[in-house]
Symmetry: C2
Subunit: 500 residues, 2 copies
């Protein structure tokens, strides 16, 4: 503990001075075996360390927020209004990293056609004159091995999404038309000329016999799947941008990214990592995300290792075993499973099986290449296996899974909410417990109190953090509370009605 | 039609003579663009064409069963008893292939330790003295491009599963013990010696600091996942066996494989293809399979094409487009999605995009490489893209998805059943409709009639086939009936109580 406290003080002296080149390097979930190479210390940070702007912390409060011993809960100030009266609360970890590596953002922006002036200056914060299609964005970013990637994503991801949507703005403005399959260079729909009376197009070598029908098939793509494609593409661009800007800035670590986007009556929830979002409607839980972990993505990772063994650097095997194999066990039979299997079978142990398994460990302790406990997210471009030249990144994916909830087609009361939280929340509290707690809390709250969703978020957070006792952070049932950073949004689904 | 009739007559003359070198080559779902190379005609069939043994058809009835014009429904004879009083019905297609390419099997076998005598003569049908652990097997095999693979799988898959289970028989006999992680060569559990007081094992270079705990982690594997592994492995061995025996026999085509295995109180349902199984309990539907089609497996196939472009033979692109691109569209923007995307986005068309998409078409017309409409199954080792040297097989997977239903932990009435059917059934009848029809039918049936499940199967089949009217096979609602081969098992879940 004394060492930790000194570290915190050193970090604070940097922090209060406004300069935080990169966080202390701890890996996700207490793991310290992996390696992380940062850019040269001379590079400036892309964004300085801080907490979300909407918290409006003074330097003193910023310092106070990092007290691992007391773990103060930060919430919105009374008087601060987020769009939709969104509630928010956060707390730092119990000491696993000096700074809170979670980040969050909540923004209302406007989608509009890129104008001549802005065409090449993307990512501008300015929304001009407030015209365009309104877009609400909530993002939760759980950093690891530093805060750089999480901070950068919290500042820029919503703008990337906004700008990509701007490019299809003319399609969004005519939602009753299905998006054209082909666009001319000027963006107008392009149709292949149909030759009069020549349905067979005999000069086309592909159009033989019954394949003609298929040749002329045209899939109808909905506007909704176009928005999904924009979000998926924006995550990839965010990841590419982090990589690119690492040449000029210190951007440490990587982050899980969970984003909710409200556009034209639909809520798109995009998740890459182990954060989670649920909708609570009439006290019923609607899961809006799946978690991406070494266990849930085992077969995808094993398949990549199987098809591209060079990525395993002769150190790892794509085959999973229930434990490490010892040299003396060569020739014996051991349980295993490969990328094709869900069950287990026995195989005779050969020399190659003595390598370390690509996926190893159980539950929260499962790791990819003994290094990282999540399999999707942004950043991590220079993350390598400890003491090796093996990069983790090819196995990590920046692709989110996007689910759509049709907000306008459902009725919502004031207690119906979207809860978004980092794994710190969900590790100790189940979906059901969260739903019950939120529903119970909100039903006792003054429905006209604009703070009610923030109070509900704070209540959720306290339930997962617990209180400090002699034997650590404990929940009321004496179970261990979460020692991780925790970040929670509680978004009222009837909240758009509160907008002016 | 006259041409078709002649073909049938020719086939019959072979068939009645007991010789059926290989079926007429039609592709799954009416597609005729793909190519299929069979072994030299001089090779004998691995098994002659026929219908399941339990139907006990005379040569006359066998010929009658192939009448595409009348499509007679075949059921169990009154007096024939399948294990558990299983019900069965089948019907041939409306003309898309000469013979019924569906096959089925229903067997009771016994799992026992391989004895010295049998150790090297696996796949023997004989179950010896009837001792061992009883195993019930139901299999439904939907062939395409010939009946060879489907017939072979219907004869051998259950024996492969039985024999693989025999190898872990000593573990099955002690179900209260978790399977040992490591086995010595003689099959007895092998434990690594733990060194006295040396938890750190300082001489082991891997056991540094906090990784020690992980090094010593041991995953507990259940007997259930060992049985799942056996089934997965047996599907792979079945596929390998087809490939191997093609050197000596004519084994035409490939097949979807759906198998239900009852062992020690649990029902394991393994599916590779687009057949389907549901449990109906209290008239509620419990889906036991997912279908594997170009649409449901799009991303897996695209990922393989992306990582191994040489498999696409310079003819196909792994990127999906909503329609074929014409040369005149180069430089324009078109909707697309790659292996990472669920939504759609626009991309500028380049030369490479003019290749044919790996996955193309919608619904039942979706195809892999314009050739095949299912993505999992057995056989198809020589299936190539029409007029090319591009093999389809690397994209087809023989791996089943296995789901487990704990039969002993649930109460079942006489109307609770497992329904297994080829896609001919499900293409025109929904899960809900099947459940309602079965429940309604069985509730009107004499509960002591041993034929009730066969009558229910026949009823289901009639609902999907319809009756022949002027405009083809029609359902009572005038919709088109299925023109495909249809095979249905109705397995009573309380059926084991009917066993002696």
């Amino acid at each position: 503990m004394p060492i930790m406290m000194n570290k915190v003080k050193n970090a604070m002296s940097n922090l209060v001075g406004g300069m935080m080149p990169h966080g202390h390097h701890h890996h996700h979930n207490h793991h310290s075996g992996g390696g992380q190479t940062c850019g040269p210390d001379s590079l400036p940070p892309r964004f300085p360390y801080g907490r979300p702007d909407f918290l409006d912390l003074s330097p003193e409060l910023l310092q106070y927020s990092t007290e691992h011993a007391s773990r103060p809960v930060l919430t919105l100030k009374r008087g601060t209004r987020l769009p939709w009266q969104t509630g928010y609360a956060e707390v730092i970890n119990a000491g696993k990293s000096m700074l809170n590596e979670d980040q969050a953002s909540c923004e209302k922006v406007f989608v509009k056609k890129p104008s001549g002036k802005h065409r090449n200056s993307t990512l501008l914060e300015d929304n001009g004159d407030g015209t365009g299609i309104p877009l609400h964005f909530w993002g939760v970013f759980d950093g690891h091995a530093g805060s750089g990637a999480a901070i950068m994503a919290s500042k820029l991801l919503h703008r990337l999404i906004r700008d990509r949507l701007g490019e299809i703005c003319h399609l969004l403005e005519n939602p009753s038309n299905a998006p054209p399959i082909c666009l001319a260079k000027n963006g107008s729909p392009y149709q292949v000329e149909s030759k009069k009376g020549a349905a067979q197009e005999p000069e086309d070598p592909d159009a033989v016999s019954d394949s003609t029908v298929r040749f002329h098939m045209e899939k109808v793509v909905s506007l909704e799947s176009l928005v999904m494609g924009v979000i998926e593409t924006a995550f990839k661009q965010m990841d590419d941008l982090i990589e690119k800007e690492k040449a000029s800035y210190a951007i440490s670590g990587g982050c899980c990214a969970l984003a909710a986007i409200h556009l034209m009556g639909k809520l798109y929830v995009a998740n890459a990592g182990d954060s989670r979002a649920i909708i609570i409607r009439n006290n019923e839980v609607i899961p809006m995300t799946n978690e991406f972990t070494p266990e849930s993505e085992r077969q995808r990772l094993q398949y990549l290792g199987f098809l591209r063994p060079e990525l395993l650097g002769n150190e790892f095997t794509h085959i999973e075993f229930p434990r490490r194999i010892q040299h003396s066990e060569l020739g014996k039979k051991m349980l295993y499973r490969d990328h094709t299997m869900t069950g287990w079978a026995y195989k005779t142990i050969v020399e190659d099986d003595l390598k370390f398994p690509l996926i190893y460990g159980e539950g929260k302790k499962a790791r990819v290449m003994a290094t990282i406990g999540v399999t999707r997210g942004l950043g991590d471009h220079d993350l390598k296996v400890y003491n090796s030249n093996i990069y983790i990144k090819p196995f990590l994916s920046c692709v989110p899974e996007v689910k759509v909830y049709n907000l306008d087609e459902n009725k919502h009361g004031p207690d119906d909410v979207l809860v978004m939280g980092t794994d710190g929340l969900w590790d100790v509290t189940t979906d059901r417990e969260v739903a019950d707690a939120v529903s119970a809390y909100l039903s006792c709250c003054d429905p006209s109190d604009p703070m009610r969703y923030t109070l509900a978020a704070q209540d959720l957070l306290m339930r997962s953090r617990g209180v400090l006792k002699e034997r650590g952070w404990r929940l009321p049932n004496e179970k261990l509370g979460s020692g991780d950073d925790i970040t929670v949004f509680v978004v009222p689904l009837a909240g758009q009605e509160s907008e002016t």
